[in-house]
Symmetry: C2
Subunit: 218 residues, 2 copies
């Protein structure tokens, strides 16, 4: 996608755009980390996704943003005017294809996430989260930019459960924790196993099992 010259620096917890605001731009993250989230009527929060450098976010069908986007740490984003992008897509079919692919890719991610939210246990959710992060990180030593609260709202858990689960993994030596934000994945096999529902089947009724695609790192 074409890169314009305009970019914007944001501090920790600063808002990129807010729910309900006119969706004038599409954003591409250059550095840092961003969360897109929504407030629910009961005061809770849904973190729809975390974004890392290279990710495009803020693309909308309607005229306004349906989510709030906030910088988790100091970040830099590139701005692309929406009208410009749409004009370019009309002129050039490869741009149109890329936009379409972008939406479909986001859709696939979200389908996997919905599966996780719908049918998985806390252990499975946290393990899947760590492995997904690892797929994007340069090494197995992860630095989590987001808080336990952010993770909890993303995985549909309470922050206490996220903390407990993480420490459980550490006790089992699947991961190593150095402070709250430094996580090193030690046993990928154990984590991958934890991702699947296999561990908790009491009465062995796991016939016709079709395993999902195995996790590939980098």
């Amino acid at each position: 996608l074409a890169l314009p010259g305009v970019s914007l620096a944001l501090g920790r917890n600063e808002e990129v755009f807010g729910e309900g605001e006119p969706a004038e731009f599409v954003y591409k993250l250059l550095a840092g980390a961003v969360r897109t989230c929504r407030l629910i009527s009961d005061g809770r929060r849904q973190v729809s996704a975390f974004h890392f450098p290279g990710d495009v976010f803020g693309m909308e069908l309607g005229r306004t943003h349906r989510f709030t986007a906030e910088a988790i740490v100091s970040s830099r984003v590139a701005l692309i005017r929406r009208t410009v992008l749409e004009r370019a897509a009309d002129r050039d079919e490869t741009v149109a294809r890329q936009l379409w692919a972008l939406a479909l890719h986001e859709l696939e991610d979200l389908q996997d996430h919905a599966l996780l939210l719908g049918h998985k246990t806390a252990v499975e959710r946290v393990a899947a989260f760590l492995l997904k992060l690892a797929r994007r990180a340069p090494s197995l030593a992860l630095t989590l930019p987001m808080s336990r609260h952010d993770i909890a709202d993303h995985l549909g858990l309470s922050l206490e459960t996220v903390s407990r689960t993480l420490n459980q993994f550490a006790r089992e030596d699947s991961i190593a924790l150095a402070g709250a934000r430094q996580v090193t994945l030690r046993d990928l096999t154990a984590l991958t196993t934890a991702t699947e529902g296999g561990a908790k089947c009491r009465s062995g009724r796991n016939s016709n099992v079709i395993p999902l695609s195995p996790v590939k790192l980098r």
Copy 2:
């Protein structure tokens, strides 16, 4: 979207396409009802979405289908060859736009669904499900084509919980049940209220409440 002449009739529980099969076609439902679902390693099932006449489904980014699509009742679908569609999108920017809009619209739906799966109670989920169905139905007297099991796998609940919740609504006169598959919505206000988390707040801590968009019927 252009309508080709080819269409296909399917019986109850017949498969339109299966998970992992080559994604040669995109499908448009003409009559009946279709579910798209996935099997998980522990033997359970995730029903990603229900489709009704007019809906397009089976569009993929990759070369194969990531879901299975099955007719819930006798149905008829139109087939559109994927290559034809992509060729048309390259030639005509309005087709490209429509494809893009379709993906984004699906994305929006899924975002709402993810929110539901992540943070809502059984009562909220079932109420939201009924209201969503009602938005597409001609009247408030719904005929559910899908079983309790289908609904449960869609909402991330057990079929018993779905049944209990439905009967609870009936006891409260929010709905009327005539047999298992005939539901008439009697009190939309009650259902809408049930959708939000408001009802279960014990210690009144509901400040800064931003209500979601009110439900609009038809």
